[in-house]
Symmetry: C2
Subunit: 169 residues, 2 copies
Protein backbone atom coordinates (compact mmCIF):
# COMPACT_ATOMS: atom_id res chain seq x y z
CA UNK A 1 0.00 0.00 0.00
CA UNK A 2 1.17 3.54 -0.64
CA UNK A 3 2.15 5.49 2.46
CA UNK A 4 -0.50 8.15 2.05
CA UNK A 5 -3.19 5.51 1.75
CA UNK A 6 -2.03 3.92 5.00
CA UNK A 7 -1.83 7.27 6.81
CA UNK A 8 -5.30 8.31 5.71
CA UNK A 9 -6.86 4.86 6.23
CA UNK A 10 -5.74 4.50 9.83
CA UNK A 11 -8.68 4.96 12.15
CA UNK A 12 -9.60 3.79 15.61
CA UNK A 13 -11.07 0.30 15.31
CA UNK A 14 -12.57 -1.15 18.48
CA UNK A 15 -14.43 -4.20 17.17
CA UNK A 16 -12.58 -6.96 15.40
CA UNK A 17 -13.21 -10.15 13.44
CA UNK A 18 -11.91 -13.50 14.65
CA UNK A 19 -9.17 -13.46 12.01
CA UNK A 20 -5.69 -13.76 13.47
CA UNK A 21 -2.82 -11.54 12.43
CA UNK A 22 -0.19 -13.32 10.38
CA UNK A 23 3.23 -13.58 11.95
CA UNK A 24 4.88 -11.60 9.17
CA UNK A 25 2.48 -8.68 9.60
CA UNK A 26 2.83 -8.79 13.37
CA UNK A 27 6.61 -8.85 13.15
CA UNK A 28 6.55 -5.84 10.85
CA UNK A 29 4.27 -3.88 13.19
CA UNK A 30 6.57 -4.57 16.14
CA UNK A 31 9.61 -3.73 14.06
CA UNK A 32 8.08 -0.34 13.20
CA UNK A 33 7.79 0.35 16.92
CA UNK A 34 11.30 -0.83 17.63
CA UNK A 35 12.66 1.54 14.97
CA UNK A 36 10.86 4.61 16.28
CA UNK A 37 13.07 7.52 17.31
CA UNK A 38 13.38 8.45 20.96
CA UNK A 39 15.05 11.10 23.04
CA UNK A 40 18.79 10.41 23.05
CA UNK A 41 17.92 7.06 21.44
CA UNK A 42 17.00 5.73 24.90
CA UNK A 43 14.25 3.46 23.48
CA UNK A 44 12.47 3.51 26.84
CA UNK A 45 10.02 0.80 25.82
CA UNK A 46 9.44 -2.92 25.90
CA UNK A 47 6.57 -4.56 24.04
CA UNK A 48 4.60 -7.51 25.42
CA UNK A 49 2.53 -9.25 22.76
CA UNK A 50 -0.69 -10.91 23.91
CA UNK A 51 -2.78 -13.18 21.70
CA UNK A 52 -4.39 -15.55 24.21
CA UNK A 53 -8.12 -14.85 24.35
CA UNK A 54 -8.47 -15.37 28.10
CA UNK A 55 -5.52 -13.08 28.78
CA UNK A 56 -6.89 -10.43 26.42
CA UNK A 57 -10.20 -10.54 28.26
CA UNK A 58 -8.47 -10.07 31.60
CA UNK A 59 -6.29 -7.27 30.21
CA UNK A 60 -9.37 -5.42 29.01
CA UNK A 61 -10.25 -4.80 32.66
CA UNK A 62 -7.27 -2.56 33.38
CA UNK A 63 -9.11 0.57 32.28
CA UNK A 64 -12.63 1.67 31.48
CA UNK A 65 -11.48 2.50 27.96
CA UNK A 66 -9.74 -0.81 27.35
CA UNK A 67 -12.83 -2.84 26.49
CA UNK A 68 -11.74 -3.26 22.90
CA UNK A 69 -8.77 -5.35 24.05
CA UNK A 70 -11.10 -8.24 24.96
CA UNK A 71 -11.98 -8.89 21.33
CA UNK A 72 -8.68 -7.94 19.70
CA UNK A 73 -6.73 -10.48 17.69
CA UNK A 74 -3.58 -9.25 19.38
CA UNK A 75 -2.69 -6.60 21.93
CA UNK A 76 0.68 -4.96 22.29
CA UNK A 77 1.38 -3.72 25.81
CA UNK A 78 3.81 -0.79 25.91
CA UNK A 79 5.98 -1.17 28.99
CA UNK A 80 8.22 1.47 30.49
CA UNK A 81 10.77 1.26 33.26
CA UNK A 82 11.51 3.77 35.98
CA UNK A 83 11.89 7.27 34.55
CA UNK A 84 15.55 8.14 34.16
CA UNK A 85 14.89 11.84 34.54
CA UNK A 86 11.97 14.19 35.11
CA UNK A 87 9.96 15.24 32.09
CA UNK A 88 7.57 13.84 29.58
CA UNK A 89 9.99 12.49 27.00
CA UNK A 90 8.90 8.89 27.53
CA UNK A 91 5.31 9.80 26.72
CA UNK A 92 6.28 11.65 23.55
CA UNK A 93 8.47 8.76 22.48
CA UNK A 94 5.75 6.20 23.20
CA UNK A 95 3.43 8.27 21.03
CA UNK A 96 5.93 8.10 18.19
CA UNK A 97 6.33 4.33 18.51
CA UNK A 98 2.57 3.87 18.72
CA UNK A 99 1.90 5.85 15.57
CA UNK A 100 4.58 3.98 13.63
CA UNK A 101 2.93 0.69 14.63
CA UNK A 102 -0.59 1.85 13.80
CA UNK A 103 0.37 3.16 10.36
CA UNK A 104 2.23 -0.08 9.65
CA UNK A 105 -0.83 -2.03 10.78
CA UNK A 106 -3.09 0.06 8.53
CA UNK A 107 -0.74 -0.73 5.65
CA UNK A 108 -1.73 -4.39 6.08
CA UNK A 109 -5.44 -3.63 6.48
CA UNK A 110 -5.22 -4.17 10.23
CA UNK A 111 -7.18 -1.86 12.50
CA UNK A 112 -5.94 -0.54 15.82
CA UNK A 113 -7.02 1.30 18.92
CA UNK A 114 -5.15 2.23 22.03
CA UNK A 115 -5.98 2.58 25.65
CA UNK A 116 -4.46 4.00 28.77
CA UNK A 117 -4.00 1.72 31.78
CA UNK A 118 -5.55 2.45 35.17
CA UNK A 119 -5.12 -0.69 37.24
CA UNK A 120 -1.36 -1.10 37.18
CA UNK A 121 -1.46 -3.95 39.71
CA UNK A 122 -3.67 -6.03 37.47
CA UNK A 123 -1.66 -5.21 34.34
CA UNK A 124 1.57 -6.01 36.11
CA UNK A 125 0.26 -9.32 37.39
CA UNK A 126 -1.15 -10.41 34.02
CA UNK A 127 1.94 -9.40 32.09
CA UNK A 128 4.48 -10.55 34.66
CA UNK A 129 6.23 -7.20 34.80
CA UNK A 130 9.33 -6.44 36.87
CA UNK A 131 8.46 -4.44 39.99
CA UNK A 132 9.89 -1.16 38.68
CA UNK A 133 8.09 -1.36 35.32
CA UNK A 134 4.57 -0.34 34.36
CA UNK A 135 2.22 -0.71 31.43
CA UNK A 136 1.76 2.72 29.84
CA UNK A 137 -0.62 1.80 27.02
CA UNK A 138 -2.30 -1.09 25.28
CA UNK A 139 -2.66 -1.25 21.51
CA UNK A 140 -5.40 -3.49 20.18
CA UNK A 141 -4.92 -4.94 16.72
CA UNK A 142 -7.23 -6.87 14.44
CA UNK A 143 -9.26 -6.84 11.27
CA UNK A 144 -12.22 -4.43 11.50
CA UNK A 145 -15.56 -6.07 12.19
CA UNK A 146 -17.54 -3.33 10.49
CA UNK A 147 -15.82 -2.27 7.28
CA UNK A 148 -12.31 -2.58 5.84
CA UNK A 149 -9.85 0.25 6.27
CA UNK A 150 -10.05 2.77 3.43
CA UNK A 151 -8.87 6.37 3.02
CA UNK A 152 -10.96 8.77 5.07
CA UNK A 153 -11.93 11.80 3.05
CA UNK A 154 -13.48 13.90 5.79
CA UNK A 155 -11.76 13.14 9.10
CA UNK A 156 -13.39 14.32 12.30
CA UNK A 157 -10.76 16.93 13.03
CA UNK A 158 -10.40 20.69 13.46
CA UNK A 159 -10.19 22.45 10.07
CA UNK A 160 -6.77 22.58 8.43
CA UNK A 161 -6.76 26.39 8.31
CA UNK A 162 -7.51 26.58 12.02
CA UNK A 163 -4.70 24.21 13.00
CA UNK A 164 -2.02 25.49 10.62
CA UNK A 165 -0.51 28.97 10.97
CA UNK A 166 1.92 30.39 8.43
CA UNK A 167 5.05 32.19 9.62
CA UNK A 168 3.57 33.31 12.92
CA UNK A 169 0.53 32.43 15.01
Amino acid sequence: MQTWEAVTSRRNVRSFTEQQIGSEDLHRILEAGRRAPSSRNLQPWDFVVVTDRAELQELSKVWVGAGHVAGAATAIALIIGPAEEPGHRDEFDLGQATMAMMITAADAGIGSAHSAVGDQDLASQLLGLPADHSCAYLISLGYPADRPLAPITRPDRRPFDEVVHWGRW
Copy 2:
Protein backbone atom coordinates in the same frame (compact mmCIF):
# COMPACT_ATOMS: atom_id res chain seq x y z
CA MET B 1 6.38 5.07 -2.01
CA GLN B 2 5.26 1.94 -0.21
CA THR B 3 4.51 2.42 3.48
CA TRP B 4 7.19 0.06 4.69
CA GLU B 5 9.79 1.84 2.61
CA ALA B 6 8.80 5.17 4.18
CA VAL B 7 8.78 3.74 7.70
CA THR B 8 12.20 2.16 7.31
CA SER B 9 13.71 5.12 5.42
CA ARG B 10 12.83 7.72 8.02
CA ARG B 11 15.89 8.78 9.91
CA ASN B 12 17.01 11.86 11.79
CA VAL B 13 18.38 14.33 9.25
CA ARG B 14 20.02 17.43 10.65
CA SER B 15 21.74 18.90 7.60
CA PHE B 16 19.74 19.93 4.58
CA THR B 17 20.20 21.14 1.02
CA GLU B 18 18.88 24.53 -0.11
CA GLN B 19 15.98 22.86 -1.92
CA GLN B 20 12.60 24.11 -0.79
CA ILE B 21 9.71 21.79 0.01
CA GLY B 22 6.93 21.91 -2.54
CA SER B 23 3.59 23.20 -1.30
CA GLU B 24 1.82 19.94 -2.08
CA ASP B 25 4.30 17.90 -0.04
CA LEU B 26 4.20 20.41 2.81
CA HIS B 27 0.41 20.39 2.84
CA ARG B 28 0.39 16.61 2.99
CA ILE B 29 2.86 16.53 5.89
CA LEU B 30 0.73 18.99 7.86
CA GLU B 31 -2.42 17.10 6.97
CA ALA B 32 -0.89 13.90 8.37
CA GLY B 33 -0.36 15.71 11.66
CA ARG B 34 -3.84 17.15 11.68
CA ARG B 35 -5.29 13.67 11.22
CA ALA B 36 -3.36 12.10 14.07
CA PRO B 37 -5.43 10.57 16.86
CA SER B 38 -5.52 12.19 20.28
CA SER B 39 -6.99 11.50 23.66
CA ARG B 40 -10.73 12.13 23.45
CA ASN B 41 -10.03 13.65 20.02
CA LEU B 42 -8.94 16.87 21.77
CA GLN B 43 -6.35 17.65 19.08
CA PRO B 44 -4.35 19.71 21.58
CA TRP B 45 -2.00 21.11 18.92
CA ASP B 46 -1.52 24.01 16.59
CA PHE B 47 1.19 24.02 13.94
CA VAL B 48 3.18 27.13 13.01
CA VAL B 49 5.06 26.73 9.72
CA VAL B 50 8.29 28.68 9.36
CA THR B 51 10.20 28.99 6.07
CA ASP B 52 11.91 32.37 6.40
CA ARG B 53 15.66 31.82 6.74
CA ALA B 54 16.20 34.60 9.26
CA GLU B 55 13.36 33.34 11.43
CA LEU B 56 14.64 29.76 11.21
CA GLN B 57 18.06 30.96 12.34
CA GLU B 58 16.55 32.76 15.31
CA LEU B 59 14.35 29.76 16.16
CA SER B 60 17.39 27.50 16.22
CA LYS B 61 18.50 29.32 19.38
CA VAL B 62 15.63 28.11 21.56
CA TRP B 63 17.47 24.97 22.57
CA VAL B 64 20.96 23.55 22.44
CA GLY B 65 19.60 20.68 20.34
CA ALA B 66 17.75 22.89 17.86
CA GLY B 67 20.75 23.87 15.74
CA HIS B 68 19.41 21.88 12.77
CA VAL B 69 16.48 24.31 12.50
CA ALA B 70 18.81 27.05 11.22
CA GLY B 71 19.44 25.21 7.97
CA ALA B 72 16.07 23.52 7.53
CA ALA B 73 13.95 24.24 4.46
CA THR B 74 10.93 24.44 6.75
CA ALA B 75 10.26 24.05 10.44
CA ILE B 76 6.96 23.09 11.98
CA ALA B 77 6.49 24.39 15.52
CA LEU B 78 4.15 22.23 17.61
CA ILE B 79 2.15 24.55 19.86
CA ILE B 80 0.07 23.51 22.83
CA GLY B 81 -2.32 25.48 24.98
CA PRO B 82 -2.86 25.29 28.72
CA ALA B 83 -3.24 21.69 29.88
CA GLU B 84 -6.87 20.81 30.34
CA GLU B 85 -6.13 18.17 32.94
CA PRO B 86 -3.13 16.68 34.71
CA GLY B 87 -1.28 13.91 32.97
CA HIS B 88 0.93 13.41 29.99
CA ARG B 89 -1.66 12.85 27.28
CA ASP B 90 -0.63 15.92 25.32
CA GLU B 91 2.92 14.62 25.08
CA PHE B 92 1.79 11.21 23.87
CA ASP B 93 -0.51 12.81 21.33
CA LEU B 94 2.20 15.18 20.10
CA GLY B 95 4.41 12.14 19.61
CA GLN B 96 1.74 10.52 17.47
CA ALA B 97 1.29 13.64 15.34
CA THR B 98 5.04 14.05 14.97
CA MET B 99 5.55 10.49 13.77
CA ALA B 100 2.72 10.76 11.25
CA MET B 101 4.35 13.89 9.83
CA MET B 102 7.85 12.40 9.72
CA ILE B 103 6.72 9.22 7.97
CA THR B 104 4.75 11.31 5.47
CA ALA B 105 7.84 13.46 4.91
CA ALA B 106 9.98 10.37 4.37
CA ASP B 107 7.45 9.18 1.80
CA ALA B 108 8.38 12.26 -0.26
CA GLY B 109 12.12 11.84 0.30
CA ILE B 110 12.13 14.66 2.85
CA GLY B 111 14.28 14.29 5.95
CA SER B 112 13.25 15.42 9.41
CA ALA B 113 14.58 15.95 12.90
CA HIS B 114 12.92 17.26 15.99
CA SER B 115 13.99 19.28 18.96
CA ALA B 116 12.67 20.20 22.35
CA VAL B 117 12.35 23.88 23.24
CA GLY B 118 14.13 25.45 26.20
CA ASP B 119 13.75 29.20 25.83
CA GLN B 120 9.97 29.57 25.75
CA ASP B 121 10.16 33.36 25.89
CA LEU B 122 12.19 33.48 22.70
CA ALA B 123 10.02 30.91 20.94
CA SER B 124 6.87 32.72 21.98
CA GLN B 125 8.19 36.07 20.78
CA LEU B 126 9.38 34.72 17.41
CA LEU B 127 6.20 32.78 16.75
CA GLY B 128 3.79 35.36 18.15
CA LEU B 129 2.14 32.89 20.50
CA PRO B 130 -0.81 33.71 22.79
CA ALA B 131 0.27 34.14 26.40
CA ASP B 132 -1.16 30.79 27.56
CA HIS B 133 0.43 28.76 24.73
CA SER B 134 3.90 27.30 24.43
CA CYS B 135 6.07 25.66 21.82
CA ALA B 136 6.50 22.00 22.72
CA TYR B 137 8.69 20.85 19.84
CA LEU B 138 10.20 21.94 16.55
CA ILE B 139 10.33 19.65 13.54
CA SER B 140 12.94 20.48 10.92
CA LEU B 141 12.21 19.40 7.36
CA GLY B 142 14.33 19.38 4.24
CA TYR B 143 16.16 17.28 1.70
CA PRO B 144 19.18 15.52 3.23
CA ALA B 145 22.52 17.17 2.51
CA ASP B 146 24.45 13.91 2.84
CA ARG B 147 22.57 11.08 1.14
CA PRO B 148 18.97 10.48 0.05
CA LEU B 149 16.61 8.62 2.34
CA ALA B 150 16.68 4.87 1.76
CA PRO B 151 15.55 1.86 3.79
CA ILE B 152 17.83 1.29 6.78
CA THR B 153 18.73 -2.37 7.08
CA ARG B 154 20.51 -2.26 10.43
CA PRO B 155 18.96 0.45 12.60
CA ASP B 156 20.82 1.55 15.73
CA ARG B 157 18.29 0.06 18.10
CA ARG B 158 18.05 -2.55 20.84
CA PRO B 159 17.68 -6.07 19.38
CA PHE B 160 14.16 -7.13 18.40
CA ASP B 161 14.23 -10.13 20.74
CA GLU B 162 15.20 -7.95 23.66
CA VAL B 163 12.41 -5.43 23.09
CA VAL B 164 9.62 -7.88 22.23
CA HIS B 165 8.20 -10.30 24.82
CA TRP B 166 5.66 -12.95 23.90
CA GLY B 167 2.65 -13.51 26.15
CA ARG B 168 4.38 -12.32 29.30
CA TRP B 169 7.52 -10.36 30.16
